[in-house]
């Protein structure tokens, strides 16, 4: 732009500013002043039981218009839940301590109590599961997999000390210096595809591990542990990229029923649940366990129930 333009614009704006100073309406900035007060969104926490209609005081809600539609809320309190699942678990609706009702969500979030998940009956079903084997895992394709069996036995001795390199870690692009990087978008997609594909052999591994399960007695616990672990890993959606994820080690105490389903899954470090990061990680771990339930391949091993009825799982998020 030419110098004249600058001068012109300078003059114009000097005028503009003068106008603004004198309190005249501005010429170019035609945006209306927004009454911020009106836009503010008020947030209040509500507790779970608040959904019971009587606990929602500020809702007289006569709503006469909809006479035909009688606001189903009051009816549903009990909700008989005719679920087909034979889940006798009482799992009482948690009675949350009355919140001090501060207005800020953060404080409120922290105050939300964890479901205690009390354990009921002292499991009388200890008796040898009558359940026969047919319910076992999918028919193990028997023929072409000799390698697999060998594999199952071989590696056991050198197991423990290897915390495997986390998947996520590899997903994070750690690009060296001047490495001519391919298009990042494509790479990301590819990596995602690879992750999915990576699960394929693992699935197979889970299924096949059921076979040794039947035969091996020594080291049964080991084999069981493998199978359970693989199924849980498949079902664990790790909250990715959390700050200091490596420190968010979560222990879940798991109690199983003789049929391999999860009776209870408790977060061990309850006192850390006030940390939002930890809580999110812990809940993701609990979800993984619940989602992985039932561990149907345990059913044939009811006689060893005492060995697997209680499990402590340690979830170590990739750093």
């Amino acid at each position: 732009m030419g110098r004249r333009a600058w001068i012109f614009s300078g003059l114009l704006h000097a005028g503009l500013i003068t106008a603004a100073v004198l309190g005249l309406p501005t010429l170019f900035d035609d945006e209306p002043v927004i009454d911020e007060g009106a836009v503010v969104v008020g947030v209040v926490e509500i507790e779970e039981e608040a959904s019971a209609p009587e606990a929602l005081p500020p809702e007289p809600e006569p709503e006469p218009v909809e006479a035909s539609e009688p606001e189903p809320e009051p009816v549903e309190v009990a909700e008989p839940e005719p679920e087909p699942e034979p889940e006798p678990e009482p799992e009482p609706v948690m009675a949350a301590p009355p919140p001090p009702a501060p207005p800020e969500p953060e404080t409120l979030l922290a105050s939300l109590p964890e479901t205690p998940e009390p354990e009921p009956e002292p499991e009388p079903e200890l008796e040898p599961e009558p359940e026969p084997k047919p319910k076992l895992v999918k028919p193990p394709a028997p023929a072409p997999k000799p390698e697999v069996q060998r594999i199952v036995r071989v590696p056991r001795p050198m197991l423990k000390p290897k915390p495997p390199k986390p998947t996520l870690d590899r997903l994070l692009k750690n690009i060296a210096e001047d490495e001519p990087k391919p298009k990042p978008k494509r790479q990301a997609n590819l990596e995602e595809m690879l992750t999915k594909l990576a699960n394929v052999p693992e699935d197979e591994a889970v299924q096949q591990s059921a076979e040794p399960l039947r035969r091996l007695d020594s080291g049964l616990a080991q084999t069981i542990a493998d199978a359970i672990r693989r199924k849980v890993e498949k079902n664990w959606s790790v909250p990715a990229g959390a700050e200091d994820a490596g420190k968010l080690v979560v222990r879940i105490r798991l109690r199983l029923r003789p049929d391999g389903s999860v009776r209870s899954a408790e977060i061990v470090d309850q006192d850390r649940l006030t940390e939002a990061n930890f809580r999110a990680m812990a809940e993701s771990a609990r979800r993984a366990v619940r989602k992985a339930s039932p561990f149907e391949f345990l059913r044939p091993h009811g006689d060893k129930y005492s060995q697997w009825r209680e499990i402590t799982m340690t979830f170590r998020p990739p750093a």
């Binding site: 001068i7 909809e66 948690m94 692009k173 995602e192 493998d226 939002a276 990061n277």
Partner: protein, 469 residues
Amino acid sequence: MTDTRFEVDERERGAGRVIGRLPKGCRRLPWRLGGALALLGALAVLVGVVQPARAELRIDITRGQVEPLPIAIADFYGTTPETTELGARLAAVIAGNLERSGLFRPIDSKAFIQKPEAMLVQPRFSDWRVINAQALVTGRVRLDAGGRLRVEFRLWDVFSEVHLLGLRLASIEDAWRRVGHKVSDAIYERLTGEKGYFDTRIVYISETGPANERVKRLALMDQDGENLRYLSGGQHLVLTPRFSPTAQEITYLSYERGQPRVYLRNIDTGQHEVLGDFPGMTFAPRFSPDGNNVIMTLARNGNSEIYEMDLRTRKIAQLTRNPAIDTAPSYSPDGKDVVFESDRGGSQQIYVMRREGGGARRITFGRGRYGTPVWSPRGDLIAFTKSNRGRFFIGVIRPDGTGERLLSEEFLVEGPTWAPNGRVLMFFRQGTRNPDSAELVTIDVTGHNERILFTATAASDPAWSPLIP
């Protein structure tokens, strides 16, 4: 046709991934062998610690899926046609936000079995497990007699059958999108453990017109691209807008007075003023984390130095004193340090110094030039632009100079800015020489989930606001 070959190839690589420790050459192994090795590796590496007999079993879980969390967001329930419509739109806003984050996968509502009105008390979790939803959002909308919008929502953990969060929000009806953003933030925070960033805005430079008469205007929109408005008319060139910590003001560069000068502007009133009365030109401004200061560069006699202005007293402090070019300053979130670019070492690199000046140490040492550093609001990373051999990169590095990662590359990528939770970066990208191709892009700090944010015009120089108070 090529299908088969492709599949084999992928499986091979997939197998390589499982073991992870195999050298690269193993990718060339035939699938069978690769698969066998994969299984061997998987079993060898992954088996947890087991305690025998009577003691409880112990299992270590060290990896999971990095797929987005499947979440069901039911339309918020309304009793009138108006509120029913509003409830559907709220659900759409929330689903859009969560989906864009890359961490969630909202499930198509066509798959939903249970209807919103059936869930006013408690959802039937089995209905949601069937469609594999791990989290579920339910809610309701009302408009009270005064026309005030009242929204209530709950977040449920479907597999654990636990109520995770319940919030009630109130606002004017026109602000319904903001309500949706606040709900999104609450869900995001509850499920990831980190603050959300959806109730935020973006200010950027809207570009139109031919290259020799480019019109650049300050534009403001919501984080999702909605509610666009222009803050300036385009008579003067404007550049590098930056938000104050209250998101109510911006500081930016304008040629309003002929020379480039740093301005301060109130977003809602439009009032603006030049900052300081300097002999040279001022540019590259940013607010301090407490909002009381603006840091900027003053160029005089061919030398650029960094200055800080106290907005209350208007006093100026010079932070660098060096014959080299020092510019592009950005505060650490605790306000104790400043990161900036300088060519004092011969090439343009990034340095960190104390807030009061002095103690500068270089943190980048790679080939090429490094510039426009921006400290993450989380404090753990510094984003930068790098250019090398005619290509541009957006990258991040830790403040101690370790862990450099490049996230994006293009003919031109510039101007990184952080979402307030420090997890997502935005920058602008120009794929060709044509400046009309300039667009805004977001990317997760992990390098995933790169997305274009649609704008009405070509767009550059974005700045992400803090969470709106």
